[in-house]
Symmetry: C2
Subunit: 428 residues, 2 copies
Amino acid sequence: MNIIKYPARAEWGDLVKRPQLDVSQLNAVVAEVLAHVKEHGDAAVKGYEQQFDHAVLQDLAVSKAEMDAAETLVSSELKEALALAHRNIAKFHRAQQFESTKVETSRGVTCWQKSVPIEKVGLYIPGGTAPLFSTVLMLATPAKIAGCKEIVLCTPPDSHVRVNPAILMAAKIAGVDKIFKIGGVQAIGAMAYGTESVPKVYKIFGPGNQYVMTAKQQVSLHDVAIDMPAGPSEVCVIADDTCNPAYVAADLLSQAEHGTDSQVLLIATSEEALLAIESETDKQLQRLPRKDMAEKTLTHSRFVLVHDTDEAMALSNAYAPEHLILAVEDAENLSKQVTNAGSVFLGNYACESAGDYASGTNHTLPTHGHATAYSGVNLDSYNRKITFQHLTREGVRSIGKAVVCMAENEQLEAHANAMRIRINDTNP
Amino acid sequence: MNIIKYPARAEWGDLVKRPQLDVSQLNAVVAEVLAHVKEHGDAAVKGYEQQFDHAVLQDLAVSKAEMDAAETLVSSELKEALALAHRNIAKFHRAQQFESTKVETSRGVTCWQKSVPIEKVGLYIPGGTAPLFSTVLMLATPAKIAGCKEIVLCTPPDSHVRVNPAILMAAKIAGVDKIFKIGGVQAIGAMAYGTESVPKVYKIFGPGNQYVMTAKQQVSLHDVAIDMPAGPSEVCVIADDTCNPAYVAADLLSQAEHGTDSQVLLIATSEEALLAIESETDKQLQRLPRKDMAEKTLTHSRFVLVHDTDEAMALSNAYAPEHLILAVEDAENLSKQVTNAGSVFLGNYACESAGDYASGTNHTLPTHGHATAYSGVNLDSYNRKITFQHLTREGVRSIGKAVVCMAENEQLEAHANAMRIRINDTNP
């Protein structure tokens, strides 16, 4: 790791910089796959599944028999863990429900918002060696609570045309029943345009590799909304003298094992704590099965020493981390200074993996500095706030003159006229 | 207008279709301007202002003297109207403030959301013959209420290097003080990347022509968030026997005067009402200064006759209009069936221009069918919901085992380990 002691503010720019993510060279190949899926539907999807996942599919949909089989293939210990995680995620997201209140802005003018679920949403769950069933819970649970009518899930099959049973089990627990064995760009295309088998959706959620990310960007320009821009996972830990160096080291390593592009930033207010964390990190690293990957990630990680927690927090806010762990004495107080972060973990017992799986918060969070402008996935992500307004005759008298004046000054005569004829009718 | 009587559901697809908006042919020229602004900052911006707006600028920023002069140039009637509109917009958006509540999801595991303002936002206000000062109020008022620290506004100057005083006055009332005389693609670039004069922002709001729209799309891929995708303005009116045909006609015309690409859809449940609205529309059209434009828009408008209000609402939801006017007997009851719309106007006195200017709702709304997945601008648009979590020792005992089990099954050993060492320390 790179240790940087007391950097001047002028050097912060380099400390918080992310590696450039340029996917533009993928644009042409992704556009071609999307266009082909748009035109040829299921046939195109099946062709790409054969080509990219070596899976020869008759039916794209996961059958009821496969769902039932999954239940017998998943250990009861994992089933219980999934149920507990689902319960907590549901509890936290259910508490985010919006209460509409009517506001009388002027006499006779009443305005309100109503939260209305997006009717059709698509969830993408990547394949690969490790099945990301936790992401199924994170994306499907709030979709169900919001009341989305159509929830479609796409995930790539293996070459035996199977989906990992833990993914199916998580989908079952979260209440998703339209699951398709489709991965990559063809999955994003199928959900964006619809095919004979896959319903078209209005918004697509979920992580993926650079191809999936590029596909999501492309379809978001015209066809569907997406959850947020993607990037490699990140953690920032702020640690003071009261931290447990072994815990902090374990948290840094849990980020480092995600992949060599993962970002790890430690900001310590004490050199002693920093060195203790460094030595603990080295020690724990030796025992990890993904040691090589984590080691590589750590070579570009940064361990920064600063004067105090205020400075630490200012640096963290400049970085805008996806995950922020506050391993400090008065974490709750310090947390009030957070302006840019995805999700924040307070105190020695809140490890990132708690939030990754089962505390109840969502783990689909803004990376790559996007926490400056984006929220992580939450109940709002599955809803729109539609505004409503009602005017009485008195309402016309309250605001009619102002509306006419403003419309005239914007040279929109028909706008003025629409209010003017109502004013004429409501004057005594 | 095109009158369509009792269309079968199979024909609805054509009725709700929007014209294709293909801006891809603008991509290259927009990318070139953006790259030039990114590299050369103020110098590039000034060059484009001279080229596109015929304005030779010394300073890009509007001066204090110009702000003061604006106050004397705007009529007191318009000033009063702006103040009333601002008051109502502020009242409605202030009522949208988020109250954070802590949720104990499992014993010892506490999670909460906090609404945190986006620190730096950019507002774009187009130029042209009619000054869109109302959009200044709509975008700046919630930004101020949210507590955004840096609010930057860009709007093109005329060839005399002046900005319309009504725009400056609206900015003053809304509390915006960093105003730059920059328009078009160069304004979007300046706010996305920052220049010597213009601060870089994290999210850009506001309408614009196809060049501005393309620029917003391009910078949104990597650099900043944007409010929503853009498209031509639209209205759908559902009218029954109880409607006032003259009012409905005036509302349709107020949409038609926006531009020939505006979308106007009338859905009537009675042929008598439909014909009365048609004849009123013809009559009022003759008196409009923008008659030619409105007439052109009306040639591609659709007047659809359906059997009842349920069918009307289903068709409207399939269309997903930006503005929806319910000129029907029991509008409040019918409004409960709205699933896709930007803003809804209830009853005979709520004309669209009420919401365009002064009722208090926001007029920056999703067009082109995007109401299926996007909200209009509201207080949330200027905030992020950051999640927080705190675990006690008991919290570790509540969820620790589930976290370890899930991490192991996702083959993320370091994630499991981060919780495992805490479990070991908290076991009695």
